[in-house]
Symmetry: C2
Subunit: 403 residues, 2 copies
DNA sequence: GGCTGTTTGTAATGGCGACTTACAAACTAG
DNA sequence: CTAGTTTGTAAGTCGCCATTACAAACAGCC
């Protein structure tokens, strides 16, 4: 398990120092303001249990680091001296999210409040192109986005790139395999034009799940986020943290067995979910071919009431329900979220998924509403990529320069 | 996710105080000695990064709390003043593990080193007996064990009871359902004779997994621990911590689907693993009936080479391999451990399990040796129950009285 | 044996960070 | 305008670890 979702403070073991204490309390104050702003120093003290004096000192440092600002508002009305409103700064430190998809490049700059301030998206057929070329374009897009952000007074402190492929825990910075792009063992750092802006790497499904997690403040939440582009991936969020597995391969829902003696899969096994609920399988079942945007095509056909398409989607939903039931029995999550391409097809997938889950998850309370579609849709991964750095900065404000 | 496996220091959020720092450093020093004893104060300083002066102060307090002792040895030989050897005390604070099984009661007192010092086990047919009666006997056994421990100078600081049933996260202290005992909604505290010795509750499979985890010091390890008494349960250890799921129902491996349209299960679904690899199913397949100790019977027949038994076990192994492949694809653990009854049948189950895993886990490196049998066998749960308190004390020595 | 060099454990001092106490500032209520 | 309330900050205290200094306890060497 690696620490992508674990954006929090100090390392697991090793002694604690006074600096660790300070770091943690800075994060506590900043996090409290981020979650409940506007708040006065006294409010923060009341909520956290720190004393007003300590909060004052911590807030001074947070302001000096550019993370907090005193709002000029006068929201009085109660008796006593009115507090000065603190808000998370919408200028200064910011973060960049990038995405390389099969059909597009995207960039997003978010401020410390988590608000996206700059969006960039260009359509590009990236499949099969030389990685160096794609990465150069991504870097150019990133530079553009950062330049626009600078106009708003935002300076990017961290960069994360979302890729539709396997990103192992070790070694870091490697895309081991991205089948839809045709990438094998690509190190983006080797092709990046500027040493100083090389992004961190993360799987797009994982980032989509994190975006969903952070959409509203759910702490301690556990859910499974299913998404698909060509394969089917699931991201596991456990206790509010992304769970990547020992090697970074957790969440391979697409290769969970749904029919032990079923169709052979490209992975070498038989009866994998991907063969029944993957986009390619659904297209085949619906009698369509894969030119253009397959998901849009399926949604159109289904809306039009095409029986073959509706049947194919129902079959896919059944298979997914079967695999998800096993996941629920193993993991006992709060809920399941359909993201990525499936979010747009959720209307036709959900009934069968819910039926199957109801039939197969029996030893615990389970409500059909616990399965829902993501509200972020295709923007999830970029947004998650941007928010990852934001969360890291909120969790450790000492990463920011003091002056 | 609740904090049974999470024995470590400070809460997830909230401000840090100097006492937290002290608590943590006490745990760091104690943990270092526990892992590498004997160690001098200077050794501890070298390993932890704390200064010798700080270690001295911390060690003084740990000695005052009865957790550390200065060994009288003189292991010199190197130049310079010899250090005084520190070891974890084998007297003083200790912990009690209890187990209520279908056919027995067990108790174990362990010292702070994790060494079991007192064992008690009595055979009892507990199925169907009134819970109050069983609990009274368990309490008596506990009192006996504590009395014997007192002779060794051990005083029990915490008690944990292992039960073969579902123990929800909320409300705590409740056995919601223990089918093999015939228990429903039993609160052991209501029947315990002495208010002061009421034990904490935990599922026996979870405790077996924790015992396996702590057998040797694996920190950060992630594995799935499969065990069976009548049903099939799996305990998930994630990053060195027990994962119980949102409601405490994680690890229901027995109800993972292995044949979508297969045999109906008591849970209401079809084709659950339990119907193919549960002890009852194996007995039926082997043409045996369930009088006496089913596991011993199966092992005898298999050793004797009975073809029906061997076939039944192979079939069970196949089904388990199928379900475990899905678990591996979802969770990406370091390894799988067969515990409980399955540990004694591992010789006949493992080949089929490994074959099936090799065929179905293909998208990541996976070695057959990553599946192994538990070395603790049936003593795992009691030992885990005792060690749980030990780990809690090691993680927070301030729980112990100072004088 | 006596001297030197090395390592250990502890005492004294300092720095850092949160807590306590005290107080001026800024508002509402009357 | 006064009394009461709440806020933010300054001064002092306390707890804890780091630094420095030093006595104690050994091996090696003469």
């Amino acid at each position: 398990m690696t620490a992508v979702g674990r954006v929090g403070g100090s390392p697991a073991n090793g002694p604690a120092s006074q600096q660790d204490m300070r770091r943690r309390n800075l994060a506590v104050v900043l996090g409290t303001v981020a979650a409940h702003s506007p708040l006065s120093r006294a409010d923060v003290a009341g909520r956290t249990g720190l004393t007003r004096a300590a909060v004052s000192s911590l807030v001074d440092e947070l302001i000096a680091r550019g993370t907090l600002t005193e709002a000029a508002t006068a929201p009085a009305g109660r008796v006593g001296r009115p507090g000065r409103a603190l808000v998370v700064s919408d200028r200064g430190p910011a973060s960049l999210g990038l995405e390389i998809g099969v059909g597009h490049l995207a960039a997003c700059v978010a401020d410390l409040r988590g608000e996206p301030r700059v969006w960039r998206r260009v359509e590009r057929a990236n499949a099969g192109r030389p990685p160096a070329e794609v990465l150069a374009e991504a870097a150019a897009l990133a530079a553009e986005a950062e330049a626009e952000a600078a106009v708003h007074g935002l300076s990017v402190m961290g960069r994360v790139l979302a890729v539709p492929g396997v990103v192992p825990n070790e070694p870091r910075g490697l895309v081991e395999h991205a089948p839809n792009l045709g990438w094998h063992a690509v190190r983006p750092a080797d092709h990046w034009p500027d040493r100083d802006t090389v992004p961190d790497l993360e799987n797009e499904a994982n980032l989509g799940a994190l975006a969903e997690l952070w959409r509203e403040e759910h702490t301690g939440v556990t859910f499974v986020h299913v998404s698909a582009e060509a394969g089917i991936g699931a991201a596991l969020v456990v206790g509010g943290q992304l769970f990547r597995g020992t090697r970074g391969f957790a969440g391979e829902l697409g290769h969970v067995t749904v029919h032990p003696e079923g169709r052979p899969c490209a992975c070498g096994a038989r009866g994998c979910l991907e063969q029944y609920a993957g986009v390619a399988a659904v297209l085949r079942e619906a009698g369509l071919d894969g030119t253009g945007d397959a998901v849009v095509l399926l949604a159109e056909r289904a809306t039009a009431g095409d029986p073959a398409t509706l049947g194919a989607l129902e079959g896919a939903g059944q298979a997914m329900g079967l695999a998800l039931a096993s996941a629920v029995n193993l993991i006992d999550p709060d809920g399941l979220v359909l993201g990525g391409a499936y979010a747009e097809l959720a209307a036709w997938l959900l009934p069968a998924i819910r039926t199957e889950l109801a039939a197969r998850v029996t030893v615990r309370p389970w409500e059909p509403e616990a399965v829902r579609a993501s509200l972020l849709g295709r923007r999830g991964p970029v947004l998650g990529a941007a928010l990852l750095t934001v969360r890291r900065l909120l969790a450790d404000p000492t990463r920011l320069p003091a002056g």
